[in-house]
C-alpha cells in the first residue's frame, strides 16, 4: 500500500505571510464602504426608482382579447393546452423533459395536480347558480362520450379561428355543431369578464390564498402574458427573463443561463431546459471547485494579471534589489 506523505504546512510559501505589515483600520474601512454604497444606492434610487408594471388579470385579458381567452379555455377543456399536455409536476399527460435515461421531471411526480378541464372550465361553471341553460349544457357535456365531447370542442375551436367580436365584448362564431360548448364558453367568458374566474382559480380551499399556480398557468397558456412580454423585450429569444420591464438592468447575472437558449442545439431542442440546467449545473460546480481543477487553477499563474494587481509589491521588491 502506498501512502502519500502530507506536505508540511511550512513547505507552502503562500500559507503564511512572513513579510512586512502596515497599519489598517478594518472598522473604518467597512464604515466608509457602507457610506459610499449607501450613497450610490440612494443616488440610483432617486434617479431611476424601480419598475412596477401592474399584473395582468383574467378579467382584463377576457375583456381586452375575448377570442384569445375563449380559444385558450377550449384548449383547457379538450386537453390540448400547454398545461393540459405538460406532464409532471401538474399531470400525467406527458413525460416531461429528460436527458439520456434520466427522467427527473417524471420521477419527482405530480406535486401540483391540475386537471385543466375540471379546474379551469367545469368547476368554475358549476359554481354559477341561477342559469338553467348553463346547467343543462354542463349536464349534456359531462354525460356525453369522450368522442362526442372531442367533436364539439374541435368544431368550436375551428370556428374560433374565424370568430368576430360580438356586442359587449362577446365572441361571435358562425352556427355549427358545437353542442353545449358554445353556451359553456359564453358563460365562462361572462364569469371571467366580471372578475369571478380570477378568484375561482385560486387553488387553496382556505380563506387565505398564496398559491397562484392555476391562474398563472391558465394565463400563460393564452397570449396575454406573451404579448406584454414581447412589447417589453422579455421573450426567450429576446434574452428572456434576465431582462426586466422598462430600461432596468434586471437579472444580468443570469446572462449565461439565458445565453444557451439563444444558440443551437438548445434553441431548437424539446429538452432545452434540462440541457441548459445540466450545462449550468456542471459550470456552477466547476466554478465552486476551481481551486481543485488542474489546468484551470494554473491559468492565473500563466496569464500574469497578478503583476498588475501586485505591481506596488513587485516594485518595492525591485527597489530592494
Amino acid at each position: 500500500m502506498i501512502f502519500r506523505r502530507r506536505r508540511p504546512a511550512d513547505a507552502d510559501p503562500y500559507r503564511e505571510w512572513k513579510g512586512g505589515y502596515r497599519s489598517y483600520d478594518l472598522v473604518k474601512e467597512f464604515s466608509i464602504a457602507l457610506g459610499v454604497v449607501t450613497l450610490i444606492t440612494l443616488l440610483l434610487t432617486i434617479l431611476f426608482s424601480s419598475p412596477d408594471e401592474k399584473p395582468s388579470t383574467i378579467k382584463q385579458w377576457s375583456r381586452s382579447d375575448p377570442i384569445d381567452f375563449v380559444t385558450t379555455a377550449v384548449s383547457e377543456l379538450d386537453g390540448t393546452s400547454g398545461t393540459a399536455t405538460y406532464g409532471p409536476p401538474y399531470n400525467h399527460n406527458g413525460s416531461g423533459q429528460h436527458e439520456w435515461f434520466i427522467y427527473l421531471q417524471k420521477w419527482l411526480g405530480v406535486s401540483h395536480p391540475i386537471n385543466t378541464a375540471r379546474d379551469y372550465v367545469l368547476a368554475p361553471l358549476s359554481s354559477i347558480t341561477g342559469e338553467p341553460q348553463l346547467k343543462s349544457a354542463l349536464s349534456s357535456y359531462e354525460h356525453a362520450s369522450a368522442k362526442q365531447q372531442g367533436a364539439w370542442t374541435t368544431a368550436y375551436s375551428n370556428a374560433l379561428g374565424k370568430a368576430k367580436l360580438g356586442p359587449g365584448d362577446s365572441v361571435s362564431v358562425t352556427p355549427g355543431a358545437y353542442g353545449p360548448v358554445r353556451t359553456m364558453m359564453g358563460s365562462l367568458l361572462t364569469l371571467a369578464q366580471a372578475g369571478g374566474l380570477d378568484g375561482a382559480l385560486l387553488t387553496s380551499r382556505q380563506f387565505y390564498q398564496t398559491d397562484y399556480t392555476e391562474p398563472l398557468l391558465f394565463m400563460a397558456d393564452g397570449s396575454v402574458l406573451a404579448n406584454r412580454a414581447q412589447t417589453e423585450h422579455l421573450l426567450g429569444n429576446q434574452w428572456g427573463m434576465m431582462n426586466e420591464t422598462g430600461s432596468y438592468p434586471g437579472q444580468s447575472w443570469l446572462w449565461l443561463y439565458t445565453f444557451w437558449y439563444q444558440i443551437k442545439p438548445f434553441s431548437t431542442s424539446a429538452n432545452a431546459d434540462i440541457l441548459v440546467m445540466t450545462v449550468m449545473g456542471v459550470f456552477s460546480l466547476a466554478f465552486i471547485l476551481v481551486p481543485l481543477i488542474p489546468v484551470i487553477n494554473k491559468i492565473p499563474r500563466w496569464i500574469p494579471i497578478y503583476k498588475l494587481i501586485w505591481r506596488d509589491h513587485y516594485r518595492a521588491l525591485a527597489r530592494g534589489n
Partner: protein
Amino acid sequence: MSLVADRPPKRKQRSWTAAVRERAVAAWPPEKLLADKQPSYVSSWIYVFGVLSLAALAVCILSGLVLTLKGPSWWHDTGVGLFFNSLHLWSVELFFFFMVIHLWGKFWMAAWRGNRVRTWITGALAFVVSIPTALTGYVSQQNFDSQWISTQAKDAMNSAGVGAFFNLTNFGQMYSYHVLLLPGAVILLVIGHILLVRKHGVVPPFELEQKSPQTSLATQPTEPEPGVQA
C-alpha cells in the same frame, strides 16, 4: 506509604463548551478577527470590492427588512414603499456587480493558494446561492415581472425535478424562501467566508521567477511583525 499517591492521576474533565472556546480563540485571536494591520502587498483597488460587496449586502438586508416589516403589498401602494423597494433593487444590483469583480480579482490572484481553498469555495457558494435568492425576490414582487419570470423560469425548475418542491408560481412559498431561507443561507456563507479570510489572511503574491534571490517571498522590503496577520 500513601495509597492516594499510587493512584493514576484523574483525567482532566474537559467540557464541549471549553473545547469550542479554545479552538475558536486559537483560530481567531482578537488581533486576527479585528486586525489593525495588514500585509504590505495589499495595495490595489481590487481589494476594495470585497468590502464593497459586504456593504451592498448590508444595504440590501436593511432595505429588505423594512419591506418585510411592512408586508409584500406595501411598496405598490405608497411612495415610501416604492423608495425602499428601489433601495432594495439597486443594492442587489450593486451587490452582484461588486461580487463579480471581487470574484474575478480573486481568480487572477489564485486566492485559493496556501490552504485557502475553503475561502474560495464559501465565496463561490455565496455567489451561487445569491442567484436563487434574487430570483425568488423577482417572483415575489406581485407585478407583471413576477408573472412573466415565474411562468418562464418554472420550465427550467420542472425539467430538473426541482419544481416538485420549489414552485415559482406559488407566491407564499417563494416569499418564505426570499425573506428567510435563502438570505439566511447567503448570510451564513458570507460569515463563514469572512471568518476564513480572517483566519488565513489575504493570499500573498506569486513568487516571481527566480532570476535573483532577492525576488523571493522570503526577502521583503520591511521587517515582519510576528503574530499579526490580516
